[in-house]
Symmetry: C2
Subunit: 311 residues, 2 copies
């Protein structure tokens, strides 16, 4: 009953309902499945954009710029900043959101930091669910900003229609980016803080790295920006729209979304099973003892658990 | 038969066998389970050390320093640099390993970059398995260096006895570190490149952030180093040994390792199940169609898959 109300609130794009729904995702709420079932038929219209890059490159400022660009075009837009939980702050940090304040009273803008406190499967599964809520709420552009620049963050950014990788002079060179597996997922590169020393070198180095890769259907453009001065935002917006058009025209958009969905469902199924395996392990502390005493190895223990949990 | 030989070779600390065994982990080799079963009883002696931090802070140089410190004490030591696969390089990059070259002919040193090409569950499950191989081979110190600074990398670093977080002036401040969830997992902090401008500020900022956290059993020290000049390495070594002694004395070491093992086995069981779920999904393309057409939501699809795969 309460879930029905929440579904209605989200579909009507009521700010409080959208916020509550995302909190339900963060907490891994018991109502999440019925909420998801209620919203899912109304998703699919949003264009999703991932923003990833090392701390300090200016992702939040670029996100604020994209919000402005969307609003100029009268498009409802949401920003989801995916943070891991930190016990030091009790969740998300406020610093970056200050830059978003000019949009705080605009009903066409929704900005939210998101931690994963209890969601099964962490960030990788919580983020797409939160994006679907924003999609169902009618935000036509959803920007997913990740904090950190590791495998999990790359995976989250890659689970969008258009993945934008942000760099800045002095903050990790292209070789380091390649090592973090970040170059392959990018549809668009932005070298931000382009007014700083070293920016042309970052652009050049990046183009060289890209040149080494296999030829692709879409050549990721390398853009420059000074987001804090508002420079380069329009070009980024246009590049995102071109990429989306390219995907739609080639049929790749539907294929990309379908395979994303399949992977997500597999992961959800595996996470359900993990809970059952954890239960089976709790029910049999002797198994953990055997493991600890090294009389039973991890693979054999996992196989035993798997067959018990499947019973 | 071949696996038996490989097990013997690893236990005898033959470099080629150790290298082949780690490749088997990377590839998710069919023989991996029997290899693991053969080696597991001989593990548990190694002290494992995680090194994590943003690209460019000098983790590899610190790792090389720790190798030197171990060899001065005549301890066999291994370094495992955990990289995601990059199609641009076909695996690991060589750059950082150049710094390790002085140890290349020392039989008491093993250095290896590791990608995860086919291992079930990726880096989070492949890294501990590779560490066990090095442990069984008699490397008394195993340094796990991660590339990138996101959730997955933090998880890998946290799955060691002593997690060292490395920072450097100008490469992400403490607030950014907190956002990446990195402060909580650290047992020791090192501010590297301490001869550069801004280093005292990083130390101060870090100490302030730590001060905000809850009181803990172990107060993570904040050290400084100039690893490329060999400064601060001995202090880091001593801090790592003190932390290990502290863990051992309080009984926390055994508890930490046990809970790590339990989580790992749960994940292995879940990954086995993921394969079965993926198979069930392939066997029923209609389910994916229903999902795509939004007649079936992801949670319900996962529940259906879970019950089918358990059959």
């Amino acid at each position: 009953m309460e879930v029905d109300e929440l579904v209605r609130g989200v579909l009507a794009r009521e700010r409080r309902s959208v916020a509550r729904a995302i909190s339900a995702v963060e907490d891994g709420d018991a109502d999440l499945e019925s909420l998801s079932a209620g919203l899912y038929p109304r998703t699919g219209a949003a264009v999703t954009i991932g923003l990833t890059g090392a701390p300090g490159v200016g992702k939040s400022t670029l996100a604020a710029g994209l919000v402005g660009a969307a609003r100029t075009r009268d498009l409802p837009v949401a920003v989801l900043a995916v943070d891991p939980t930190s016990p030091y702050t009790g969740g998300a940090l406020l610093g970056d959101r200050v830059r978003m304040q000019e949009h705080a009273t605009d009903p066409g803008v929704f900005i939210r930091s998101m931690a994963t406190r209890g969601h099964l499967g962490g960030m990788a599964l919580a983020a797409p669910e939160a994006v679907r809520i924003l999609d169902a709420a009618g935000y036509e552009r959803v920007v997913v900003e990740t904090v950190g620049v590791g495998q999990a963050e790359v995976d989250v950014a890659a689970a969008t229609d258009t993945a934008v990788v942000v760099l800045a002079p002095g903050l990790g060179d292209a070789v380091q980016m390649a090592k973090a597996g970040i170059l392959e997922v990018a549809d668009i590169f932005v070298v931000n803080k382009a007014d700083r020393d070293g920016a042309p070198e970052v652009v050049r180095e990046l183009r060289q790295m890209l040149h080494l890769g296999a030829a692709r259907d879409w050549d990721p453009p390398v853009l420059t920006a000074s987001a804090s001065q508002g420079e380069g935002i329009e070009e980024l917006w246009e590049a995102i729209e071109s990429h989306r058009d390219h995907l739609a025209a080639s049929g790749a958009l539907a294929a990309k979304r379908r395979s994303r969905l399949i992977r997500e469902v597999e992961s959800l199924a595996a996470e359900r099973f993990r809970l059952r395996a954890a239960e089976a392990l709790r029910a049999d502390p002797q198994l953990a003892d055997e493991l600890e005493a090294r009389r039973l190895d991890p693979y054999r223990a996992a196989a035993m658990l798997a067959s018990r949990a499947a019973e």
